[in-house]
Amino acid sequence: MSHDLILAGGGLANGLIAWRLRQLRPELDVVCLEQQDSLGGNHTWSFHQHDLDHQQQQWLQPLVVRRWPAYHVHFPQLSRRLQSGYASITSERFAQIITPVLGPALRTGCQIQALGPSHVRLDTGEQLQARIVIDGRGAQPSSQRILARQAFLGQVLRLRQPHGLLAPIVMDARVAQGAGYRFVYVLPFTADTLLVEDTHYVERDPPAPELLRANIADYLQAHGWAVAQVLREEQGVLPITLAGDFPRWWAEQGDQPLSGLRAGLFHCTTGYSLPEAVRLADWLATQPLDDAAQLSHNLKHYLSDRWHDQGFYRLLNRMLFLAGRPERRWQVLQRFYQLPEALIARFYAGQSTWRDRLRLLSGKPPVPVGQALRAALRHSPRHYEEPQ
């Protein structure tokens, strides 16, 4: 039997696509294949209020576990409360809402052995056919995309006492710096539960999980927060794009429709992927979805536009994260968070105006200009080749 659409992988992007298509295109026969037992894995996804428009906020609302009216950042010489809304979705709520809506259209525990634009083969030997297969099985390395990494380990903790935090701490860089820029991220879900993440911007290998756990313990101790129970632990690596070659990267994909991180859909500087996933789900709902080649063609243009839109942020990444000594990079971020709130909001939303761009690029960076410029020049994958 042939389906209209198979979504390979049941993470954030494909889960949202399946859910949104069920709302807007109920006539479509969609199947979502997830290798784990449940949808969405073990994650927390967040977004800034201005990343999404009103309509997008509305259809996403059932998934949102908590909204805050503001957030904090802390640096050695700057603490600031930004009056801009912040919200989070947990994979738990994600699965809880979407799983029943999909019903039998969600197949968990499926190990995919191979797939193409219109077929999937499972490791059981089962062959599935569809007009279109969208591959959303997470980021895949490519020699045509140069990534830095934002490696993190987070723990959701129930504390013995209320923590007193009213808003998230999106960056606390008042911590010992490591091999790359390091900060702690804190979400106060309830009066006595917190998500605490230890995060490192690194160019290569992420630090060992034990180190990150120890860092979290140190951070809790420094704030006098005693842990009653560790409710959940998550870890991951968010990509930060430094450079790439879109046409060659697309050629590598062999016209396979893609979604999520696999499609490179995330904010090149911050790694936030939820707004891009929401936009892709909305965009797909407007597509005919009856022919893989046609979708692949349209998706190429969609992704190419997104890639070019993000060019400015990749340039910033190179100037900010390749230049200067890693242990001094907090200064770059400290300077950034001194800028006007509206500029910061547009930055997160990937909607920096020309004025914002000039301001971000031309200010005196805390790294020497020569170094920043040399770093900026490494715009092509071949500038990152290892010497033989």
Partner: protein, 424 residues
């Protein structure tokens, strides 16, 4: 009233400046004839100016395009040697044929571009008064100042001084074919032989488009050297009719006529402007075909045109990107607009070095990538360039074609050196 001969390299930038000067002389009742190979008449659009073709046997119609191509791409040593040989052949041709042509046209005085010494040599042989005009950076030699064709910054330290001297020696060695041609021609015309281009400048008056405030500091310019600023006619220009957003910065990119074909460079500029979300106006002077123009629009250029009214464009723009042709650079500076210079050939590296020295803008290699161009543009659009205001004031009262014509008339009338400080 006098009949002036104009002798200059057959490049549009030189002809444009000299044509503006000729226009002023014509207004004052003089007669002006340009002398060169027949194709170069194409750069003249003022019907009052006469043109006398020379060397039709060696430089027939159609031969200029090849010369221009060579001049536009002298980037490797082989092509550079070919270019120098060609310059030498042109000078030899003019030295041989100008004497008869000037006599036949009853020329009273010669305006000789600094870069074409044949005009000066022949004028001397015919005992005609001659005024030198520097349309490009002046080539007057001075110890401690690098040659205009060199990209070096201005400095006093011993290492820089050695660099200037060494590069001058290499330059003179490369230019030997031209020097030898000039020596031979001088002997044939019964004149004492001398050295390179810089030894064929007028003893009466030397006129330059380059203001003191733009050149590197000089102490040794002769008393009869006059920096009059850009040679332009002052006819008002119609504004460009393109729909540009008044609330967004405008970058104007022009690489001049010879370099207008450099699609790759324009493409990097267009991508850089898209990164910054600023408007780009490209004038390619006819160097690009229609598909290339369409691609530049796709890459982020707001307007792609063959010609834009340049005075309007440099005033409208927030940054001017140029290859460092002196005309465009002076126009931008006259409008007080900062520059990003990507020099390619001739005196353009020297122009770039002077732009940087006087804080009038920034310079990058012509091979600079999208990111470097974007970073430089961001800097220029956001940070003021302190050198612009003083130079703009200096340019506003420099004198231009009117002063140049006064100097020329005085030199021809008196036959004596016209000193910069003396009343005309």
């Amino acid at each position: 009233m006098s009949h002036f001969a104009v002798v200059a390299p057959p490049y549009p930038s030189h002809f444009n400046a000299l044509q503006a000067l000729a226009g002023t002389l014509l207004q004052r009742g003089h007669q002006v004839t340009f002398f060169h190979q027949c194709d170069s008449q194409r750069w003249l659009d003022d019907a009052r100016i006469a043109f006398c073709p020379v060397g039709l046997d060696q430089r027939p119609a159609g031969s200029l395009d090849q010369a221009l191509q060579l001049a536009a791409n002298p980037s490797n040593p082989w092509r550079l040697r070919r270019l120098i040989r060609q310059l030498a052949e042109t000078s030899a041709l003019l030295c041989a044929q100008l004497p008869a042509a000037l006599q036949q046209q009853r020329i009273d005085a010669v305006l000789s571009d600094q870069m074409e010494p044949a005009g000066a040599l022949v004028a001397e042989a015919l005992h005609l008064p001659m005024v030198s005009i520097a349309c490009a950076l002046p080539i007057n030699r001075e110890e401690g100042v690098p040659l205009p064709v060199m990209p070096f910054k201005y400095a006093h330290d011993p290492r820089s001084q050695r660099l200037y001297q060494g590069s001058t020696d290499v330059h003179d060695w490369l230019m030997r074919p031209l020097t030898q041609v000039l020596e031979t021609a001088a002997q044939r015309l019964g004149l004492p032989p001398r050295g390179g281009l810089q030894d064929y400048l007028s003893p009466l008056a030397q006129i330059s488009q380059t203001l003191a405030g733009f050149d590197f500091p000089r102490q040794a310019l002769p008393g009869h050297f006059h920096a009059v600023g850009p040679l332009r006619n002052s006819e008002p220009q119609a504004p460009g009719a393109w729909p540009l957003d008044p609330h967004k910065p405008v970058v104007f990119a022009s690489l001049g006529t010879l370099q207008g074909h450099r699609f790759g460079l324009f493409a990097r500029i267009a991508r850089a402007c898209r990164l910054l979300d600023v408007q780009l106006l490209i004038a390619h002077c006819g160097g690009l075909d229609v598909p290339q123009q369409a691609r530049l629009l796709q890459m982020g250029a707001a307007v792609v045109t063959d010609f834009a009214p340049q005075q309007w464009a440099v005033r409208r723009a927030d940054v001017v990107i140029s290859h460092g042709g002196l005309n465009t650079v002076m126009d931008a500076l006259g409008a007080g607009t900062p520059l990003l210079v990507l020099p390619i050939a001739f005196d353009q590296p020297g122009v770039a070095a002077r732009v940087v020295y006087h804080h009038l803008g920034l310079a990058l290699s012509r091979r600079a990538g999208v990111s470097a161009i974007a970073a430089a543009l961001a800097h220029l659009l956001e940070q003021p360039m302190p050198g612009l205001a003083p130079l703009q004031a200096e340019l506003a009262q420099a004198g231009g074609v009117g002063l140049a014509a006064d100097i020329i008339e005085t030199a021809v009338r008196t036959g004596q050196p016209v000193l910069a400080q003396a009343p005309l």
